[in-house]
Amino acid sequence: MSAHTQALQASANLSPAQPLPPLPRPFHLGFFTHVHGGQDATALYRGVVELFVAAEELGYDSGWVAQHHFHTEHGRLPSPLVLLAAAAERTRRIELGTAIVTLPFEDPLRLAEDVAVLDALIGGRLQLGLGSGAPIAAEFAAFGQDVAQRRVLFDEKVRVLEDALAGEPLGGPANGGTVDGRTGQGDGGLPLVLQPVTDGLSGRLWSSSTRPDEVGRAARAGHGLLLGVGPAGTVQQQLAAVHRQVWAEHWPRRPGPIAAVRGVFPGPDRDRVAAQLAADVALYLPHHVAAGWAPHANISTEELLGLMNVQYGRPDQIVASLSADPVFAPYGTHLIAAIQAESSSLDQALYHLEVLARDIAPALGWQPRTDGDQNASH
């Protein structure tokens, strides 16, 4: 751990720089899906579009999709930007996000083009979440990359992406795009810049990480923080504190966006929902053991649900648990609810969306948006 990181962590243990008012208070509500399901891909993707339509009608502020590569049943969307372009045609207002794009597999300039086109096409509704991907060797090998390099790849590529979106000249030494000392030149010898020119998209970037140094980097670059992975009370709370601290130093004029990404599964009682989710969350147990977050592989479903920060049970129980969430309550400007587990049907996901918007989020201070509301940045 670097001295800089230690300093960040030490400062993070002090009182937060810009405390949010206690709940209930206004916040931004989004939904999220990994895009699960065994049906054919056409029906699956059309179902995701339906989630966006339903969420907009319920007043959600945003919807987010994850990018996964080569998965056959769980995490079936390798091209979130293509799908978001489709979802945008069926909606007018709701913001469309990625949580996250696996940046090491992307050419950062091609990604910049894709997000610039998408954002122009959808009227500035894009929120672009970035990450370095799960450390799965075969996925990196398929893309001709070494999984051990994934953080380095992220670091290199995020700079190219940021510069391109900011309209910096392309092909300069900073982005590695120089060939034989020549930089890209367009008509009249002017330096090439990203086209289409983006409008505010640089201010709608997010990062997801479990490492304080990376979170500090994200805050310095003006990225919001997506916090989904890792136990909230230990891993995530520390990251949120780092982000708030670094953000306050670099961007004192506006609050740093911090999103608590939480599974939200309302049902008749906690036991019944836990039983429904048992097989789904068990898939994540090996990762939690390997990361040192779970003490051993024999923990109960309830313990694992706790480590995964899943909010479940009756709506009033979920209101209570979110009010006590060690990240969302003190730090969260955004609540992004994962409403689809591996075994959830589309109808169940739609039901979770509805209960959250109707019976849970308003009790925490959220107000549904209507068509007349303007988009905010972040």
Partner: protein
């Protein structure tokens, strides 16, 4: 309206746009493009094709055709969604495979993927960290990777995903896409290989003469296609897929068509000169239009010109008019599309698919 012909359709009818729009917001340009697809579907067009250009500010404004076609997929139900072309050397072939697979699933199998090596985009290569003079080699290795991914070959020989026994494969699986690839080339040897591979050939680069350049390319493609079929490969019994792109500018008469094209041609000509094609700049207006294969004038004149085109009828399985020029308006583009679908293409034997079963 022309009497609709009967019998088998001689070609599918598409349109191609390079996505121009100087000085306009990108959002407006893209919304117009989505609208163009919606109208074209209503007019009975079989497909719409969009060109990918990189780092262009005024002309050629779409670097991400697949994202845009994702939007089009939700506003249409039948029209095919094509690229002509995707600049393959500037793509990660596996990411491209994923994007087209998702688009193909979203659109229920409507994707037609046209690929080129980027001869019209050479100035962009260095910005992507690539050498333009290596674009053909990159094209070949990327095409191998793309094709094998689309076919469903294992992506990492021997390796497995997350301890699973299953090999790492492209998802979603869309094996039919491997049968819907198209290539653009100006090399006769390559055109033959495109044919043996069973890919379609895209013809119609403006500076390629139909008789001396395009027709030999098409014949080489056909020879390769038939050779593969004779060897039990390829697509026995199927006509060689050839997409022929032509600038088509119908108007009330020839003079008005020329007047409408004049400002665009000046822009067009300057770009040719910039790319070293200086002999084009010395041609008169009429000669210049002929040299770059523009069919213009009254619809009857356009039909006559297209019938006389040495690399079109009998050869094209997909006829792909370009009706947008550098500074044309959406309304004018849509009016020309309508003339193509209701007058010009029917005179050449085409009719909307919806009317085929009604006879």
């Amino acid at each position: 309206m022309t009497q609709l012909p009967t019998g088998p359709r001689p070609f599918k009818l598409g349109f191609l746009t390079h996505v121009h729009g100087p000085g306009r917001s990108a959002g407006d340009v893209y919304r117009d493009l989505v609208e163009t697809f919606v109208v074209a579907e209503e007019l009975g067009f079989d497909g719409g094709w969009v060109a990918q250009h990189h780092l262009r500010a005024d002309y050629g404004r779409l670097p991400s055709p697949l994202v845009l076609l994702g939007a089009v997929a939700m506003r249409t139900t039948r029209i095919e969604l094509g690229t002509a072309v995707t600049v393959l050397p500037l793509e990660g072939p596996l990411r491209l495979a994923e994007d087209v697979a998702v688009l193909d699933a979203l659109s229920n199998g409507r994707v037609q993927l046209g690929l080129g090596s980027g001869g019209a985009n050479t100035e962009a290569f260095s910005a992507f960290g690539h050498h333009a003079d290596q674009r053909h080699a990159r094209f070949d290795t990327s095409l191998d990777r793309l094709r094998s991914a689309l076919r469903g070959d294992p992506l990492v020989p021997g390796a497995t995903l997350q301890g699973n026994r299953a090999p790492t494969l492209l998802q979603p699986a869309r094996p039919g896409l491997a049968q819907r690839l198209w290539q653009a080339t100006s090399d006769v040897g390559r055109a033959r290989t495109v044919g043996t591979t069973g890919d379609g050939l895209l013809l119609g680069t403006a500076v390629h003469d139909p008789r001396t350049v395009q027709r030999p390319l098409a014949e080489a493609h056909r020879a390769g296609w038939e050779e593969a079929a004779a060897n039990g490969n390829g697509h026995p019994g199927e006509r060689p897929r050839a997409g022929v792109i032509r600038a088509v500018f119908p108007a009330a008469d020839r003079r008005r068509a020329r007047d409408d094209l004049a400002p665009a041609l000046e822009i067009h000509r300057r770009a040719f000169v910039r790319h070293g094609l200086t002999e084009l700049s010395s041609l008169s207006g009429e000669d210049y239009l002929a040299r770059i294969n523009v069919h213009y004038g009254h619809p009857d004149e356009v039909v006559e010109g297209l019938r006389a085109d040495p690399a079109l009828l009998g050869l094209a399985t997909y006829f792909v008019p370009v009706v947008q020029h550098e500074v044309s308006s959406l309304d004018d583009d849509l009016r020309r599309l309508e003339t193509v679908a209701t007058e010009i293409a029917p005179a050449l034997g085409w009719r909307p698919q919806s009317l085929v079963g009604a006879e």
